[in-house]
């Protein structure tokens, strides 16, 4: 028995199983995960690692463990989407920490949420003066959502009755030198128009372009593979400054 080949085969099975299962579980940003989701992710990864390298266990039993855990997470996801009550029961609810500028100490104690944590999370939101806060809500994923008092909120064009242009999603027309015909059609343009625009900028072939996208104002942004920056800014700290002296 060649153990290396067994580990290779089992690792490939674990890798692709994990890939399939995580795709089934759907897209959830790491920052949006609750503590329970986070632990589930670690556990599923740990079982997959065991499937890959623990040759003293049958691969099927480890795989079944992985599938069961994924199935349980999926079932909880489905249940929590369907029932708001169960969702609240399992994931908890957002908690108001600051209400009308008043810190809710009792709620904080109940949640075992410390004042230091509150101040830190406010600072992360560039709030260094707690008196600027009208409402602060501790979300299920542990993040703090803050509503500043109206006098501390930035002015927006609507406040000044300034009319603004529509701003939507840009359409990618060339990606990695390949023209995306589908996107061209969606914005009611054709290849001739695109080639004309490229020629106007001295580009003879779309393959010279790394990225081209069209914004809702009709402006075409083009980035070519060949850049003409002669002295690019280097922020690297790989070299010891003392060496240069």
């Amino acid at each position: 028995m060649n153990e290396v080949s067994v580990v290779i085969v089992r690792s490939l099975m674990a890798f692709f199983t994990l890939l399939i299962f995580t795709r089934i579980l759907g897209k959830q940003e790491v920052s949006q995960l609750t503590f329970f989701d986070y632990i589930n992710g670690i556990t599923i990864g740990s079982i997959a690692a065991s499937l890959a390298t623990n040759l003293n266990g049958r691969s099927l039993t480890e795989w079944v463990g992985l599938a069961t855990w994924t199935g349980a997470v999926l079932a909880l996801q489905v249940i929590t989407v369907k029932s708001r009550y169960i969702s609240k029961y399992i994931n908890g609810e957002p908690i108001v920490i600051i209400m009308n500028g008043q810190i809710m100490e009792t709620t904080m104690n109940k949640m075992r949420y410390q004042m230091g944590e509150l101040l830190e999370q406010l600072r992360e939101k560039s709030i260094f003066d707690i008196s600027q806060v009208e409402f602060a809500v501790l979300e299920v994923n542990g993040k703090l959502s803050v509503l500043k008092k109206s006098s501390y909120q930035p002015v927006i064009p609507k406040d000044l009755n300034i009319s603004t242009d529509y701003d939507g999603l840009s359409a990618e027309l060339i990606y990695n030198g390949v023209v995306i015909e589908q996107n061209l059609k969606q914005v009611n343009l054709d290849r001739n128009w695109l080639e004309q625009q490229l020629r106007a900028k001295g580009i003879n072939d779309p393959s010279e372009v790394m990225l081209a996208h069209l914004n809702t104002k009709g402006e075409l942004y083009i980035d070519k593979y060949s850049d003409f920056v002669t002295d690019s800014a280097d922020f690297s700290e790989r070299y010891d400054p003392k060496e240069g002296q």
Binding site: M1, V6, R10, M13, I20, L55, N56, R58, S59, W63
Partner: protein, 118 residues
């Protein structure tokens, strides 16, 4: 459903079926060869026909090596190693022509064999 979507769904299904076949390989590809050789060897030991038992042990070992290649990706390493160790011990016992110990070892080999893929 267009063909691209069908492939997107079929690919993971085929992959999972393939993985299950590999993981179930101890049950699927175990075969009966080793079991038959164990039974024949037990008969030889019972008859104390040591020449035949020696030849039978060689063919049992050969058959076992073939099975290892087929089941190694799904079976426990310890299951495989235990049976291999037991076979090595049996070789010495048969050379010593010790009927009682040979039967004990054969019973153990049989136990390991039945446990594989269960």
């Amino acid at each position: 459903m267009n063909s691209e979507k069908a492939v997107a769904y079929l690919l993971p299904i085929v992959a999972i079926i393939l993985f299950l076949v590999v993981m179930l390989s101890p049950s699927i590809f175990k075969g009966q060869g080793v079991y038959q050789e164990i039974n024949r060897l037990t008969q030889d030991v019972n008859k104390e026909d040591w020449n035949s038992a020696n030849a039978r042990l060689l063919s049992l070992d050969k058959e076992w090596q073939k099975v290892i290649n087929r089941i190694q990706f799904g079976a426990e390493r310890e299951e495989i190693n235990s049976l291999s160790r037991s076979l090595a011990r049996l070789k010495g016992i048969i050379n010593a022509e010790d009927k009682d110990s040979a039967l004990i070892e054969l019973a153990e080999i049989n136990h390991y064999w039945l446990a594989i893929g269960r």
